[in-house]
């Protein structure tokens, strides 16, 4: 039987506020345990929450970016359950009246097609702390760090509109692109700034009824998400084909072992007993506030991509890659402004630079090669001072902190020889020294002569220690050989 996969996502996005959603404690990442957990975050008796304006604004900005309905009145509720990283014994979240209503996200797929994923709603809530199961403490215990408790989140809930892992990952990447472009999330996946819960079910191709779904929780990279979906889809299909049934359950994916398991603790029937939080009042938004935020929205990825195609004549493929990421886009535009060559700059930013940044897990904002430095390098490629091959060497030098392009070209003597007189002499020398090759060339069938040029090129480049301008050499060589015929 052929199976169709149905996927819906719940995406937790940590908002890039300075303080918690309900307290004035810092949200900075990486502090010593419990040094950023204030009395409110610890749920000390008698403490009360007050809502962070910035968290509200960020949620609205997300809603505006996906063209969703913004609730004029939204309500915080309490979701009751006991867990050591949940100090109040309830999570303050939104249920009946979330701040962001229905919206849609346009997703570009690798094959160039596009798809629209419906957003059911997005709500504001507080993050929980962390339970550490191993560490510098007594065996048999868990250590609780509440620094993260109270960090503002928006949870974005999609409709089950995705049909395979590529679509799910493309959607997730698009959300990443939107929230980082808005500046409402730092997008640092490795720090848990975006986490994905994936709801997966399968059904016989052609049917419309949804199968029983499982929820794989807390995936914090696109790669893990893709792997976890493959694994779960395979598991469900195997299970059904072997005569079993899929149980509705919460699953946990382990990226190291590439395995998943059911979370037993979550199997216990939960009754969260939601009710409106009496310590907080309804959040009422004025039209004016919403309009102010709308008019101040930064450029969004779709608009930026269109502009790149228009303004820089980039291919849709390059525009897509460069436009998706705000810092990448900024880097590209800064470099292009200096280099004056958009196409070449785009090639370098999407190629060499991205590869090196990815390998070292760096963002363009903290690239060792600045946009100015890359632009200076590109200028030297464009004016034929260096070849593309040399440029890679120079790039490595800049990356390693050896200086700017010109300094490295100078220091390493990498200047390309473009002086026609010098190149002609070089070509003459090689031709003179390789008479048999020349004769062979002349005797070869005219249609097949082109293939023989490579041999000469190699000799000439070798003689020039790689510094001859290859385009010029190739021209001169062709010229000289034709004269010999």
């Amino acid at each position: 039987m052929n199976w169709e996969t149905v996927i819906g996502l719940e995406v937790h996005v940590q908002l890039a506020t300075k303080t918690k959603i309900f307290s004035g404690a810092s949200t900075a990442f990486g502090a010593a345990p419990n040094t950023q957990a204030c009395a409110i975050d610890l749920a000390m008796p008698g403490t009360l929450p007050v809502v962070n304006q910035q968290a509200i604004d960020y949620a609205i900005m997300f809603g505006l970016a996906i063209d969703a309905e913004i609730s004029k009145t939204s309500v915080f509720e309490r979701k009751n359950y006991f867990y050591p990283d949940l100090p109040k014994g309830y999570q303050t979240t939104q249920l009946e009246k979330p701040i962001v209503g229905r919206g849609t996200v346009a997703v570009q797929l690798a094959d160039g097609s596009s798809q629209s994923v419906r957003i059911h709603h997005a709500h504001l809530e507080e993050d929980a702390g962390k339970s550490l199961h191993e560490g510098n403490f007594r065996h048999g215990m868990s250590g609780i760090d509440l620094n993260r408790a109270g960090t503002p989140l928006i949870e974005i809930v999609s409709e089950p509109d995705m049909r395979n892992s590529q679509e799910a990952v493309a959607f997730a990447k698009k959300l990443h692109s939107i929230v980082t472009s808005l500046g409402i999330c730092d997008g640092e996946m490795s720090q848990g700034s975006m986490r994905f819960d994936v709801n997966i079910s399968v059904r016989p191709q052609g049917t419309t009824e949804l199968g029983t779904r499982t929820e794989t929780k807390n995936l914090n990279s696109f790669k893990f998400m893709e792997e976890a979906i493959h694994l779960e889809v395979e598991r469900q299909i195997d299970l059904i084909e072997d005569g079993g049934t899929v149980l509705q359950e919460t699953r946990l994916y382990n990226g190291e072992t590439r395995t998943a398991r059911s979370m037993r603790s979550k199997e216990e029937a939960n009754d969260y007993r939601y009710f409106p939080c009496p310590d907080l009042l309804p959040v009422v938004l004025s039209d004016q506030r919403i309009e102010t935020l709308r008019s101040n929205l930064p450029e969004l990825p779709d608009a930026r991509q269109a502009r790149f195609i228009e303004q820089y004549q980039l291919s849709p493929y390059d525009a897509n890659i460069l436009g998706a990421d705000t810092s990448m886009a900024g880097y590209f535009e800064q470099a292009t402004a200096k280099s004056g060559n958009a196409k070449l700059t785009a090639n370098w930013v999407t190629g060499e630079l991205s590869a090196r940044l990815n390998a070292d897990n760096l963002s363009p904002d903290n690239s060792p090669v600045s946009a100015e430095q890359l632009a200076a390098l590109i200028v030297r490629i464009a004016d034929s001072t260096i070849s593309g091959k040399m440029a890679k060497e120079v790039f490595e030098g800049i990356w390693a902190g050896e200086g700017d392009a010109d300094q490295i070209i100078e220091a390493r003597g990498l200047k390309q020889v473009s002086d026609s007189g010098a190149l002609e002499a070089m070509v003459d020398e090689v031709l003179a020294a390789n008479q048999s090759m020349v004769e062979d060339y002349i005797n070869t069938d005219p249609d097949k002569r082109k293939k023989k040029l490579g041999g000469f090129m190699g000799q000439i480049m070798k003689a020039s220690k790689g510094q001859a301008n290859p385009q010029q050499v190739s021209q001169i060589l062709a010229q000289k050989l034709s004269e010999m015929l």
Binding site: K18, A32, P278, L281, P282
Partner: protein, 95 residues
């Protein structure tokens, strides 16, 4: 009204309160008596009324996103039942 043993046990689990077997009958009667009282609500005609959770007419005030809290871990953990290395300790959490 009386409440079944199973229901009391479920409530106790949700509320994380250990209840001795020998108390269940009494609790069941007392909760039943309270539920008889609150069941008087069912007679009220509340059609068209909002479910408002707070008596004030105000809306939520918003706070500026400015750090106002300093590290007070030492003071907070001085009154904690069990801590080590700055962490609050509990018996191992099993997911």
């Amino acid at each position: 009204m009386s409440i079944e043993r199973q229901a009391i046990e479920n409530l106790a689990t949700l509320a994380r309160i250990a209840i001795d077997d020998n108390r269940i009958k009494e609790i069941s009667q007392q909760l039943g008596s309270v539920l008889d009282l609150v069941d008087q609500l069912q007679a009220a005609d509340t059609s068209g009324l909002d479910n408002v959770a707070n008596p004030t007419q105000e809306s939520q005030r918003l706070r500026e996103d400015k750090v106002s809290e300093t590290d007070q871990r030492e003071a907070f953990q001085a009154i904690a039942p069990d801590t080590e290395g700055g962490l609050f300790l509990v018996p191992k959490v099993i997911d």
